[in-house]
Amino acid sequence: MTALSKSWERAVVPVLILAAWEIVSRSGLLPAALLPAPSVVLHSWADWVFGFDETAQANSGRWLADALSSAVRVAAGYGIAVATGVLLGIAIGWWSWVERAIEPTIQMLRPVPPVSWIPVAIIWFGIANKPAIFLVFLGAFFPILMNTIHGVKTADRNLIRAASMMGATEQQLLRHVVFPAALPSIFAGLRIGIGAAWMLTVTAEMVAVKSGLGYVLWDSYYFLRYDLVLAAMASIGLLGYVTDALIKLLMSAALHWQHASTLQSREG
């Protein structure tokens, strides 16, 4: 199959949805303000990005700044979650005394929805970047941690035996055997984590921060600018998609050795 016809396949469903939506909102079934047509949304979005005719009013031309402030929060919270989640996950998976000491606490904190931390986060960190970063961290940390633990625990014991037979110290085992063996599982956690990260940035921005895509979304809702609400939603979706694609790219580079033995290789 040619590359062109493949990209066609990907485009069919979105194009159909957009066309149907455009027709419904132009038909006047609903007031135009409540369900703006895709063309209207696109127009406002474009002005939000490029600032040519003030359709987006105060937001006109400010998209990049908004997107960037959201992205920075995601990057900071997610970065901390990756570093701590992977390290702690390896420690919990490897040393049973660490597991006994920490696991019960973690299992009690894990079911608490990160969103319910918002009041505490605001009390601790005030209204600025910090509570948002904290929430992003909470959202991404647990999936990364749980998947890392799983990856370490399911590492093949025979590989560890083989490596220690070649003189590996404990630290070398962790670095040269356990970590690479856990990597597929860690990446699964990273991908779940990045979704949670965007979700919580937006949530935090709707409540505790006065900038970013989530803030614009909530603010536009107060002003009944549903076109901008939709443009903000689309922006978040787009950035989420791009970051996930980046992680996928990183993953296929790091796990290229898996290709010969997994279903992925079917696609060629």
Binding site: A162, S164, M166
Partner: protein
């Protein structure tokens, strides 16, 4: 000096779940001299792997001592090479990196590791597959990588736990020939676990026959057969008949014990 010495080894596995202890090895003493090729024969579950794992340092004997090269074994280490039944290669490393894994642990630079690996890649006939990943290898090729990986450490002692069990007859024969050639060239001590009488007779300078559970040393047989071994020769068959008789008696006794 003896290369490997097992002194009155007893191994009891305590089974916490079933609240019962299992006597796996019962008072085995065995010395393996330098440059010997000892094949350990015994029925399934008689404790061959257990013995080998104690020499490797994965298991500790309940009673008795294991020494290798005069030093008591207190854990796995690079002075002994181990070839497993499943090759146990790191799936994320290409063939040459697997073979040179020991050097990676010693902190060698990539170019040096690559150069050092080549000799062993050639030795086991894997030229052209250096950059393949384990998932892209056949079973026999993976086993060769496992053997090359053990040889690269240039250990005095190589432990092999049914390394050819999963191979087809033809590949198995090729690998046996290669292994003997390597052993003659590298002058090391090999302990080779198998449950195939033929394999033991083709490879070993000595055969140790274990009894079935609990594992005891039933008999130790010197093989003074010329190499390459002729599996149709009368002397080969005399040995084979003798060993098969031992095993048959063993089976009879087992059944009598079970019936009593």
């Amino acid at each position: 000096m003896a290369s490997i010495e097992l002194q009155n080894i007893t191994k009891i596995y305590s089974d916490a779940k079933r609240k019962r202890d299992l006597l796996a090895i019962d008072d085995v003493s065995l010395t393996v001299e330098r440059n010997e090729f000892l094949c350990m024969l015994g029925s399934s579950g008689c404790g061959k792997s257990t013995l080998l794992n104690m020499i490797a340092g994965f298991e500790k004997p309940t009673k008795g001592t294991v020494t290798v090269g005069g030093k008591p074994v207190d854990g796995p280490g690079a002075d002994r090479g181990m070839v497993f039944q499943q090759a146990n290669l790191m799936p994320w490393l290409p063939v040459w990196e697997n073979i040179a894994f020991h050097l990676r642990l010693k902190g060698w630079r990539k170019a040096d590791r690559r150069a050092a690996a080549q000799e062993f890649i050639d030795l086991v006939g894997l030229k052209g597959f250096e950059n393949h990943y384990p998932a892209e290898l056949s079973g026999g090729m993976s086993q060769r990588v496992g053997i090359a990986r053990a040889l690269l450490m240039n250990p005095q002692v190589i432990l092999m736990d049914e390394p050819f069990a999963a191979l087809d007859a033809q590949t198995k024969m090729d690998m046996q020939e290669e292994l003997v050639a390597i052993w003659q060239k590298q002058r090391c001590t090999i302990v080779f676990v198998t449950h195939s009488v033929d394999e033991a007779l083709v490879l070993g300078t000595q055969v140790a026959v274990l009894t079935s559970r609990p594992g005891r040393l039933r008999e130790r047989i010197e093989l003074d057969l010329p190499r390459p071994r002729d599996i149709t020769s009368p002397r080969f068959n005399d040995h084979k008949r003798h060993i098969l008789n031992l095993i048959r008696e063993e089976g009879l006794q087992q059944r009598q014990v079970a019936a009593a």
